[in-house]
């Protein structure tokens, strides 16, 4: 099977969505200082994983589904969700994607195929397999994208689901975004494969499915690898485990503290816990967004001026999302009792 490489137009589409995710996330991050108290609880950013997210979802077709984790702001942006409704949800407002009932960790947009996000590590993996069973029954060559982190591969849900998905040849693509850290624990500290110097993709061997490792900072590499997995799934040949190596450029999440304490983002754990400032700075130098911009300019797909224009346009779009969300009212109190049951 050969997957068609994205043409120039598609590469610009990928770059635009990478920018959109980054700019959206930057505004989520800045909300903690610019509008203190507006975001409650815990948020988790995808900066550093944009290439992986967009490269993967560049294969998403109408009728497909995607499920993800609490680190879920990136996917719906690519699938077409309105950033205003997403920001309003993160701000707990009535115009939120989920009416203010879910918040940052539970963005859902069923109309666009973004089926749900569990805040419990690994718990969403079997949900994706269930959605894939439904797709298998529909027989329309539809597939399910299942996103999770490296930490989730230490959960039973991961192992149980990979076994069944392979056994039943479910049309699902398991995209493991390996960012090297489970909060403040390094992968080598908690993963036998990592400790032995093996890629995490070898876990697929235990379940008789292909396992591939890809540079998650390169959207074209991700698109090629995930594309092969998608073709395999659409052809009814079953799932693939894709280990997409990314570096999370922000801390795991904003500060965890009771009300009254500022909830801004601390420095990355590589610095605060492990004192590895050079590791973090190297990751910043490899930031996938400027890296892809430079590649596009170098290959002539995009001029520097055009890239700057796109960035300005995206910044404006995301500024509007913040303005909209801040002005959106809180939901009516009684709405807390809606949607408990269908």
């Amino acid at each position: 099977m050969s997957v068609q490489a994205p043409n120039a137009e598609r590469q610009i589409w990928i770059f635009t969505h990478m920018l959109r995710i980054r700019e959206f996330e930057e505004r989520v991050k800045r909300t903690f200082t610019e509008h203190p108290g507006v975001i409650r609880g815990h948020t988790h950013l995808a900066d550093g994983a944009e290439a992986s997210i967009v490269g993967s979802l560049s294969h998403f077709k109408n009728g497909d589904a995607a499920l993800a984790t609490y680190r879920c702001h990136g996917y719906p942006l690519v699938l077409g969700s309105d950033p205003k409704a997403m920001m309003a949800e993160i701000y707990g407002r009535v115009d939120g994607l989920c009416k203010g009932l879910g918040g940052s960790m539970h963005l859902t947009d069923v109309k666009r195929g973004f089926l749900g996000t569990s805040g419990i590590v690994g718990a969403g993996i079997p949900h994706a397999a269930g959605a894939a069973w439904a797709a298998q029954i529909r027989k329309k060559r539809e597939v399910v994208f299942c996103f999770f982190g490296d930490g989730a591969s230490k959960q039973g849900a991961f192992h149980e689901t990979l076994n069944i998905a392979s056994l039943w040849k479910l049309p699902v693509i398991f995209v493991m975004e390996n960012n090297g850290y489970n909060v403040v624990t390094t992968t080598a500290q908690e993963d036998a494969n990592a400790a032995a110097g093996e890629p995490l993709a070898v876990k697929a061997k235990g379940y008789a499915m292909p396992g591939v490792t890809v540079d998650g900072a390169d959207p074209l590499a991700v698109a090629a690898t995930v594309g092969t997995a998608v073709e395999r799934a659409r052809a009814g040949e079953g799932p693939t485990l894709v280990e997409s190596k990314v570096y999370r450029l922000s801390a795991h999440g904003n500060i965890i503290a009771p009300p009254g304490v500022p909830l801004h983002y601390p420095e990355h754990e590589a610095i605060t816990i492990f004192g590895k400032r050079e590791e973090y700075e190297a990751a910043l130098r490899g930031d996938p967004v400027p890296r892809f911009r430079a590649a596009l300019v170098k290959s002539g797909v995009l001029s520097g001026a055009k890239a700057d224009g796109l960035a300005a346009q995206v910044a404006k779009e995301m500024d509007a999302a913040v303005t909209f969300a801040v002005k959106s009212p809180f939901p009516k109190l009684e709405s807390a009792l809606d949607n408990v049951y269908a």
């Binding site: 749900g116 079997p126 949900h127 069973w133 029954i137 069944i164 408990v340 269908a342």
Partner: protein
């Protein structure tokens, strides 16, 4: 009407719904392993599948399938096996409709036996109903007759929410009249199993026949107990219980679970709050003694509520004055 054992009535409820609705799935461990398995023969492997021993994946897959428009019934055999996958039961299935602001429905049924007090010792005998009943978004069904087993299963499958369907293992082979053809029993409607004016007894599952037997013995002494079977504990038909207590003024709650893990305690709280003026005596709860269920037969019988303890509780509430 046909005489059916309880467990066949549960199957009849699943068949009824699988026949009329192609979106209903049925799967679990040690199920559908041959082509002549009745559900495989009728509906095929697309909808009826055997799973590995992977409760988290089984229930999680049911959630994903349900969110995608299907209606899965997961065969879990024993309520304790849900404990292996408690996150999926309590913190996944009932959360998605709410957290998505009503965008998704999660119509699934978790079918599990419970309370197997027949020498199954400490880990296969629990009465876990109360663990599930307070979870917003979950419905919890506890049939005590064959007819209800069929009708409540069918209603559970048609319900658009996750439903925990708990059937008592000691009722498995109890026969009962079961309506032929389409049969549905509504959720949230308690059944008065026996009418009486002196005392109200509320019980679920296997405690229903035990309470009825106790009531018969009391009737011989001229004491008329009203026995109420809530049938579903989420939603709970508190109105029927309050109405009965308004008539009798006395309430005995019978529950197979240990003292502080009961449905009884929840009902007692609600009746104390909303029916206090009707009560002529303090509520008495007959529960299991606070121990893991022991293996040895006389010890098992000692721990679990029996007719004698129910009768003694009734005598206590009849004697008491407020």
């Amino acid at each position: 009407m046909a005489q059916l054992p309880f467990i066949a009535a549960v199957d009849a409820g699943i068949h009824q719904e699988m026949k009329r609705d192609a979106t209903v799935l049925y799967f679990g461990q040690n199920l559908a392993t041959t082509e002549n398995h009745p559900f495989v023969a009728a509906y095929g492997h697309e909808r009826v599948r055997v799973t590995p021993i992977s409760e988290t994946a089984e229930i999680g897959i049911a959630i994903g399938a349900a969110m995608s428009g299907l209606r899965p019934v997961v065969e879990l055999y024993m309520a304790e096996f849900m404990l292996v996958a408690m996150d999926q039961v309590v913190n996944e299935a009932p959360r998605f409709r709410y957290m998505s602001g009503g965008q998704v429905k999660v119509p699934l049924v978790l079918k599990a036996g419970f309370g197997f007090a027949a020498g199954w010792a400490g880990q296969h005998t629990g009465s876990l109903t109360a663990l599930f009943m307070g979870v917003p978004g979950l419905k919890v069904v506890v049939p005590s007759t064959a007819a209800d087993a069929k009708g409540l299963m069918a209603t559970a499958i048609r319900d658009d929410n996750p439903v925990v369907f708990l059937h008592h293992y000691l009722l498995t082979l109890e026969h009962g009249e079961v309506p032929d053809g389409e049969h549905l029993v509504p959720f949230g409607k308690a059944e008065v199993r026996r009418a009486g004016g002196d005392v109200t007894i509320v019980a679920t599952g296997w405690m229903v026949p035990r309470s009825l037997a106790a009531a018969e013995k009391l009737a011989a002494e001229g004491i008329q107990a009203e026995v109420i079977d809530p049938r579903t504990v989420a939603p709970l038909d508190l109105a029927t219980i309050l109405k009965s207590v308004a008539k009798t003024g006395r309430l005995v709650l019978v529950d197979q679970a240990p003292r502080h893990a009961t449905v009884a305690g929840i009902i007692a709280g609600d009746v104390a709050e909303h029916g206090f003026s009707s009560l002529k005596a303090p509520i008495v709860q007959v529960t299991a003694r606070d121990a893991t269920v022991p293996y040895s037969e006389p010890l098992e019988a000692y721990v679990i509520p029996d007719e004698e303890r129910i009768i003694a509780a009734v005598r206590t509430v009849l004697k008491a004055r407020r």
